[in-house]
Assembly symmetry: C3
Homo-oligomer: 325 residues x 3
């Protein structure tokens, strides 16, 4: 698993210790168990458990063999009290998530995000970004704190890069935005003030080509990943937490919902849509305009909406033409 | 109905009185009736009749109880002569619309739009915009004359805002464009010189969150509205004159054609398309990739293209799979 | 056929003569025939054969009556040796294409593209661009070398224009990108370093209106063309080598794959997709959300995916509703 230092991107706004959580949660706290008091400066996900972090757990789940030091669980399920030594049970997990993380971290959906810029050759570059000298950046770009850009990259014009680690030999075409806010909130409490803080990043691997006018949202906690040598056409939207393998080819105007995992060597036509939280295998080919609603096995060739085996889809179309139904 | 001062956004280019209309219309004028001569500095729509304005009427229509002062009707239907005290009958309503309004108003699809900018912290801000000090604006933005931005808003980077009134607590993510020109013209006379002047605005209510890379076109005469606490994902296109109610949730790459009215608490999946001039009720749920072609009643759940009841749509798919047709 | 001077946009990086090709191709060269040695500074396509150029030929093809002077053919088909006086046979045509053209030309997908900019009224304009004084350009734009802009154009804000010739009376709305890199590479060798150099341009004819947030990719060798008085709505993607006739009307979020040819007076709804390399006749109407997979004859009205005669499509939908299949 890739690691990154969250604080490089999202500075700590207020340091907290676990014993302060009860004050912070107020009436939202139902019960808690604190075996040892420690400082919190990170968040965990079910994929990556981190030291000195909070883990928000929706359902009863006993995670065994946690090697990370100093984990405090926050859950809305009392059943979890028996599994963890440090845990708070809350009324509303989403509300607590937002309250605690907005208190703990600065991020760009709130005001007063701390950053400082220099106007370098026509673009605003954060003093806290780290860009290799061999890489080139065009005009009217915006590159904010924590961003790393490796060697021999070509970043064109009017590009926005935030909360991202970009490897070597990456080309990012004009007017693309990377590391933007994921579309994450509880459907029951809508409005800009109820957005879940999006505190993950985007990782772009070696040799990736991103077309013009794309958007790639940063992850909620971990990272959105575009694998080595992947080719992305214009106006492609890639949602938060997506992990796309090596050598992907994604044609224009395709949209990938949040938390989709895509294998290696996948070819995706234009205007394809993906439901969230599905898994696409290696070497899959997806025809243009497909709507992919379920997991797809390795080496499949699919088309249509809902996407199904391409031969079936073609048969269906020929039949409709021939027999009128 | 919301009101706004059109001249804040679209300054008067040439003052005209109703008795000058005959000169302006030239051979395009067939007949006219002028009961009283007055100054014209506004336009009316069938939704909002304004003082000292022109109303362009395509069909025979007797609007009763007009309370606004000084209305001059321009119509291609001679039948309307009997209903109004101040009216001009013209050969081609679209041509006259363009001629008169391009003569009367400055707008940004013609040259020489009068505005003055300061470079404020990396963004070009009109001296005639009104932005609350508590709101933050990123780099490489463009905010033009008349724009109002309320309290505690976060406007990110490379954002273009024109002809818009933005309320409080609004978040606008990177590279979004608001108040751009609506796609309005007579299909018979194409070309940039035949665009209908788009002289309305965009209103964004409290607590709205707009994702990255969206476009929201301003209205032709009145306003395009995004209701309170609505959440809009990335790359969503919202056409001119759309009115979207409170608490909407609109996923990525959806496109809403002009003059669509959407109720409250509506949830719309990604890559959905809407035909123009339709009405969607409250609490409607529209599945991803749907094509909505007709009005939809309150509390409906629809899917497919043309969008239909979701249960029917699912049945259809299961049947096709099972029986091959 | 339109002509343009490639070197205005893509300066020569290294001058080469045909006798140097063997050195450049190295082990990739299988055999060659050089009847006369000449300087190479251009590329040809099957549509336009140019003087002192290379023509890359995939299959056996005997082009007769070539009037251009000094053509050197590069092919992976030995059969072509018998047809041409100057020809190199190579192992891998795509690899040779990339090697030679990256050696020969500067383009913006490689580093060190030579250009110089002035900040003019808030936008970065190349000293090697040629913009008529009667045209207006907004803020935060980027206009690079070789670009020509004719009379009375309105270029709005945050617009990127590269490798393009723009005629008179053209309106380009906010945040549109023109002349960006086409999505061209061999599917077998993915990654940013294997992009085919895109060395063509975009031509925008008189009176075109481009909406906000569009992308129009430049051609690989010749030009992408938007014909006179065409109207393009927001977020439309037009791929490399497309040729769109006069008076097109293209609604929002439509995507046109590479090398599509579209006739005159065509009307295209929103969210339509086109397969690559197809031909659409004059006066065609294509309903919203259609997926066009094949050539379409003049005066057709089509809908659906795959797009078919609209009456058939409607019948099908009515039948499905009535009989459940």
């Amino acid at each position: 698993m890739r690691s990154f230092n969250r604080e490089n991107f999202f500075p700590i706004k207020n340091k907290i210790n676990t014993d302060f959580l009860s004050t912070l949660l107020g009436e939202g706290l139902l019960s808690s168990k604190i075996s040892n008091n420690f400082e919190i400066f990170d968040i965990s996900s079910l994929s990556i458990i981190r030291n000195n972090s909070l883990l928000f757990l929706e359902n009863e789940l006993n995670i065994k063999n946690i090697e990370s030091k100093n984990l405090h669980v926050i859950s809305n399920s009392k059943e979890n009290l028996k599994y963890y030594e440090n845990i708070s049970i809350v009324k509303n997990l989403n509300t607590s998530y937002n309250e605690i993380l907005n208190y703990l971290f600065f991020h760009d959906d709130n005001k007063n995000f701390p950053d400082e810029f220099s106007l370098v050759n026509g673009s605003y570059i954060s003093k806290y970004a780290n860009i290799d000298k061999s890489s080139e950046i065009g005009k009217n770009c915006f590159i904010s704190r924590g961003v790393e850009i490796g060697k021999n990259c070509v970043i064109k014009n009017n590009v926005v890069i935030k909360n991202s680690i970009i490897s070597n030999n990456v080309i990012i075409s004009d007017s693309t935005s990377i590391g933007t806010t994921g579309f994450g909130f509880d459907f029951k409490t809508r409005g800009s003030q109820h957005l879940n803080p999006q505190l993950g990043i985007v990782i772009i691997d070696d040799g990736v080509h991103l077309g013009a006018r794309c958007s790639i949202d940063r992850a909620k906690i971990d990272f959105t990943l575009i694998g080595e040598n992947s080719m992305v056409d214009n106006m492609v939207h890639i949602g938060h937490n997506c992990v796309i393998g090596k050598n992907a080819c994604i044609a224009a105007q395709t949209g990938i919902s949040g938390s989709v995992t895509i294998g290696q060597n996948v070819t995706i036509g234009g205007q394809v849509g993906f439901a969230g939280h599905i898994i696409i295998g290696d070497n899959v080919i997806i025809a243009a305009k497909s709507g992919v609603t379920k997991n797809i096995k390795d080496n499949s060739v699919v088309a249509g909406f809902p996407a199904t085996d391409m031969k079936e889809w073609k048969k269906n179309i020929i039949r409709q033409k021939k027999y009128g139904h």
